[in-house]
Each structure stands twice: as C-alpha cells, then as structure tokens.
Amino acid sequence: MKCLIVEDELVLAQSIQDYLKQHDFVCELVSTTQTAIEKIELHQYDCVLLDLALPDGHGFDVIRHSKQQRMDHGIIIISAKENLDSRIEGLQLGADDYLTKPFHLSELLVRIQALVRRKQFQGQNDSVFNEIVFNLLTKRVTVNDTVIDLTKKEFELLTFLIGNNGKVISKSAIAEHLSGDMADLFDNYDFVYAHMKNLKKKLVAAGANDYIKTVYGLGYKWQDA
C-alpha cells in the first residue's frame, strides 16, 4: 500500500515512515503543499497523511485539489491544532479522519488500516489473522469458525492489537484508543490490564493461540507465535 506523508517536521515524518514500513506501507515524504499536489497528480496513493500548517500554505489546499480532481485516496489530517472548527472544516472538505498531534503511531496505523479497508471493501470484508476472523462492520469474531462473544471494548482492543501486529503498544496508547478523548480521565491504566486479561481468556478458551504478550515496562504486543 502506498502512503504520502505531507509533513514539514522531518523527524516526525520519518518516524511515521519507519513505523508504517513494517506493515507493508510504502511511504513518500513531502513537506510543502506544492510538492504534495505534484505527487498526488503523478502517483496513485492509498492514503495521504496531511499536516495543516505547512511552510507554503495550508493543508486544506491539498484536500481541495484532490477533491476537485476526484482522486480516490483517503486523507487523514494530522494537526497540532486541537480545534473543533478546523476539524469540522477539514472533514467537510473531504478528509476522512483527523488526528491531533501528539498521537501514538499505533493509533495512526489502525486509523490508516480502517480507512484503507473502508475505501477498498466498504468495510464489508472479513479480516483474517490465522485462526481468528473478525468483521469490522458486524463486529463478529470467530476462532476456528466458532463465534466468540466479545464486549465492545474487547473487540476494539482485538482489532487494535491485530492492526499493530508485532509492535509493542504502550498502555497509554491502548487507553486512548479505547476511551478516545477521555483517556485523560484516568490516572492509571488498570482497566487496560483488565480488558486485556478478559480478551486473552476468551481467545484462549475458544482455542486460539495466545498471541498477546506482555512486554515488561512498555505495554503489550500481538505476536504471531
């Protein structure tokens, strides 16, 4: 899958590239609206990550251009502006998602995956990980063709972990993913541990491999044994 990163902070752009690379994303980096527009005219991308405050203009120009040209890549805005107005305006212009800096790379990855999946299959398809099959739309999960009953949070956790397959995910990233903007409510992430334990128990009980590894001091990891 191809991804264009429009970001003038090179270090940030590179770390996104590094993280996505291991998940079969080919990323290209540009740092101005001008070069971004040139790139999307020449190449076909699955996803564009777009910073709004760019040296030669506003990221919205890129969205306007791609919508005028009826390009079908997904657009995720990554902005330092925690601002409801610019979020609404961006989404109205045609961006698919909005992520406020700072964000966890794991969160960015699952957002991109969800976006690509929506664009390509309208979310209808089943995702498969070895013996585990899950459907994002129906929220149905089967292990070896046996349906298992997961709570909403457990389902979100499962897709987040599988999406970041092989990556260490910090507890705070999981907490934020599960509680959205309300993660700041909590001082500790005991609830992450509790959800994780339950999910693990249900998967193993249904006969799945134990893919969830605890990484000391850092968080969790979904690892294909």
């Binding site: 940030l12 700072p102 001091g217 850092l218």
Partner: protein, 435 residues
Amino acid sequence: MITSKPFTDSDTNGRMRRKLLNKTLWLYLSYAIVIVTAASIGFYFFLRNLYSEEVLEHLYHEKTTILKDPSINTSNVAEWNKRNSLFKLIPSEKEIPERFYRAFYLDQNEGEMVPFMVLDSPIRINEKHYTLRLRASLLENEDLIESILLVFTLLLIALLGGIIFITQLVSRKLWKPFFQTLEQLETYEINRKMEVRLPNTSTEEFQRLNATVEELIRKNSLIYNDQRQFIENAAHELQTPIAILSSQLNLLSQSEELTEQQALLIENMEVSNRRFQHLNKNLLLLSKLESDSSEKEPVNLTELLEKYLELLQDAFGFSDITIRPQIQQNVVVLANSFALSSLIENLISNALKHNYEGGIIEIELTEKQLIIRNTGAPHPLNTEQLFRRFQPSSATGSGLGLSIVKKISDQHLWTIEYVFQDKKHVFSLLFSSAN
C-alpha cells in the same frame, strides 16, 4: 442608579458614598455648630454688658437727681424710703466707697427672685452718713437671652438644613459621573471583550479620572491579550516537539533487544511525556476559553453524562470504586458543548484521581445543578486556592483542572461551589442562568 440610593444602603457603593458624604458633611456641620454656638455666647455677653451699662447710667442719673433733692433730711428718711421701692437710704457708720453690683431681689409682680443692678453711693444728710442704694431690674435682660437663643437656633437649623441639602445635591449632581465610572469599573472583566463607556463630564477632575482609567484599561487589555496570545502560541509550538518525542519513544520501544532497565527508562519518559502533553493540552484549552466567548447551544447534559458514565463503568467495573449515578432525564442546558465536556471531564477526573480503593463517587444531576461527591482525603481542601491555577493537590495533577472548571462555569454565568460534607468532597455546579 447608585447616586439615588438611600443613605441606609449597605452595599459597597452605599458605604463608599456615605463615607464620602459624611466626611464633608461632618466637617461642615461641626464648623457651623462651633461658629453659631460661639457667636451666640459672644453676642449674649456683648448685649448683656451693653444693657448693664445702660441701666447703670440710668442709676447714676437717678443718683444725681436724688442728691440734688433738698427735701430729704434725717427726719423724713423713713418716709422717703417707704415712698420709693427702688431707692433706699440706709444709715451707715462711716462713709463707704461708691460701688455697683448685681443681686437678686424678690420681684413683687413676678413673685420670684429676679436679677437687679444695684448702685450703692455714700450720701451725707445733715452731717450723718447714709448709703443711697439704687436698684434697677435686669429682667428684660433674660427676655433678651431667650430671643437671642431662639434666633440663633433658627439660624443653626437653617444652616444645617442648607448644608445637608447642598451636600445631597452635590453628590447627586456633581458626583454622578464619578459613580457612573465606578459602576462601569465594577462590572469590568478583562477577559471579556467588553467596551467600557465612561460618561462624558464637564468636571476637569472626572475627565482626568476617566481618561486615566480608559488608558489603563486599554494598556492592560493589550498586555493581557499579548500574554494570552503568548500562552496559546507557546502551547501550540510545543505540540510538535511533544509529538516527535512521543513518536520517537514509540519507535524506540519497538527495538528487539531492550533490557529491562532500558524498558523502564522508556516507560518513565513516556509517563513524563504524557504529563507534558496533558499540561499543554490544558494550557491550550485555558487560553482558548479566555479568548473566545463561543456560541452556546442547548446541550443534553443527561446524554453527555451517560456517555461518560458508560466509559467509567467500563473502566471501573474492575476496580473498587463504586459509582452511584442519580441522573434526571433530559436535562438540557444552554452551553458551549466543547467547554461543557471539558468541565465534566475535569470534575469526574478529579473525583477519580483523589479517591481511594473502595471509595464512592456520587453523580447527581437535576435541572438546577450537577453535584459530584467523592470520598478521598479525610480533610477539607483549601477553598481559597482551590480554583486558582497551578495549585495541584496531588503530585500527578497539572493544577489546571479546577481553574478550567471555574473558568468555564464563569463563562456560562454558573456557580461552582465546594464543600466538605459527611467526609465527602462535594462539588456543586449551579446552572443559575440555565433555562
């Protein structure tokens, strides 16, 4: 209007005004009383002396007449004395010096003792010594005092009344622009973008006052805005380095061969970075809240709270903290939904963070108020500093939470109150202006 408030007014304006009035009034009044009293006393003595001299002169004149009277001799002294009630011839041993004095005698007509002016002079009748005692009543003198007192009392009343009236008039007319300015200043808040309209006045001092106040306000709002802008910019600029740090730590934790010690270091950095992030987010929020008077819309508070409760139940279903909601259906308040969410988030977050294992959080919502009670520290919080910035009550808090709550509640003209009751910390948000 302040200037028409009665004297008995007990609010700040009233007291201020009474003080100012009293100061001038008392000065005028005491001066008037002293002057009028001194004048009446002085005038009284002056008139009395004048009258006494008049009487005395009359007595001397009488004396001269009597001395020239040839019909008096020793044989008819007794008879002469009987004939004249006011003049007496008293035999004496030797010749006494002439003298005059005041004395009281019984007045036949009045039936009481009245003051008299008395003149004793030596007289020789047929080579015998006599004292001629002449008297004149000073009764009219007392009438005089009464008249003078009456006149002066009337004068005093007229004077005092005049002073009070003029002071009232002065305060009402002359001080009017001053009180208008004062009223404007009392309602002025620097973070509201409000126009201060000071009254036009022809009094030079008030013109100066107004000009100074206007200049002061202008300068201060400029500085205030600069500072707010600075905080906002600084917080915005910090977002990117925080994002970079966060992503770098993400990447670092993916390294294959991390030792436990390194993992711990990364975790500590992540925790610090999160605090940093949280603090910065709150700073942004605060500066945003101060800058705009965002549009308000009807927000269904019941739905909003239930969203939070769902999350809380989910997160705390495993822990020992019991949440007891008591939420009235369809409570709608007029609010900025973004700000309202921040407010509720901060209140609930505090109730969670400052709680203990096995603690309780009660959330009560009615149309009039939102009450959040939580168990926690066994002593009440310092209410004076509670809602100020950077007054964290725990090591992990940013110290901004409650100042955000206060700011938002102020912006909506709501009231936020804190009490320590039944060993619970109780925060009540009163929607006083909610419809």
